[in-house]
């Protein structure tokens, strides 16, 4: 289902971005980066929050399947986070003339979140597989998710005009066609993330079953 949705929405989003949405009067053609960069960033936050939610569920139930359901979104979140930084950096260079701007609170906060979750893997793979590793990973994942609201608040409280605020309490600061394109892109990226999650989970489950099967086959021969 998610794979079909992603395969339909991704080309639709690209078509809308290049053939439907008007060119922004202020930023010009490069504003089209917004329709991928912002949904990728929001998908990153969603994946980290999803991983943390499953981490909390693991700590509550001690069900080891939830450890895997927490790890996979973290893994995908780092991948989408990497894409956010690359696409953001390209947009920054064309718009502001710099690849990175350290004076921006929201950029720095996002980088901290990204590096925090990169370190998640260092922690996870430094502990032997089992309940201890799952517990350490879950606690770490939960600690990191607290940074997400800080990042969102930073975007809205930052007084610098370099990173424009697109969504305020008055709604979206863009016209109807732009907002529709943004929503389609967001749905496309979220469905792509869900599709990747489902495929990766299936691969990991097959891997686990194969290991069990191999052990059984070797024990009985």
């Amino acid at each position: 289902m998610a794979v079909v949705l992603a395969a339909t929405l991704m080309p639709l989003a690209v078509a809308m971005i290049f053939f439907y949405v008007p060119t922004d009067v202020d930023q010009g053609y490069s504003q089209r980066i917004f329709y991928f960069h912002v949904p990728i960033a929001l998908t990153t936050y969603t994946l980290f929050a999803w991983g943390a939610l499953n981490a909390a569920r693991f700590l509550w139930t001690r069900d080891m399947r939830l450890d895997l359901k927490s790890y996979v979104p973290m893994h995908l979140g780092v991948m989408f986070g990497c894409l956010t930084l690359v696409t953001g950096s390209l947009w920054a260079h064309i718009s502001w003339g710099v690849w990175w701007y350290w004076g921006s609170t929201e950029l720095t906060t996002f980088l901290i979140i990204f590096l925090f979750y990169c370190a998640y893997f260092m922690l996870r793979f430094s502990v032997e597989p089992g309940e201890k590793r799952a517990t350490f990973s879950a606690v770490y994942a939960l600690l990191g998710v607290g940074l997400i609201p800080i990042s969102v608040i930073a975007v809205h409280t930052a007084q610098d005009i370099i990173h424009p605020i697109t969504f305020s309490r008055n709604g979206a600061n863009m016209d109807g066609s732009m907002f529709a394109t943004f929503l389609v892109s967001l749905a496309a990226l979220l469905s792509l993330a869900v599709a990747m999650y489902c495929i990766e989970m299936r691969g990991k489950r097959i891997d686990d079953r194969l290991k069990q099967l191999r052990r059984l086959a070797e024990a009985s021969s």
Binding site: Y29, I94, D207
Partner: protein, 52 residues
Amino acid sequence: MIDETAVKYVAAVYGVTWVVAIAYIGILHTKFGRLERQIDEIVKLMEARSDG
């Protein structure tokens, strides 16, 4: 009139995203290939056992 530099940057952003998505599919393809080989090994192990 479209700014050519802007077009290059927009193309780079969309290119990077697609490259990452395709690389991810490639990695999964390799992983599923490895799983397939492991299944073959287990099948051979089981066949050898039933022959013996």
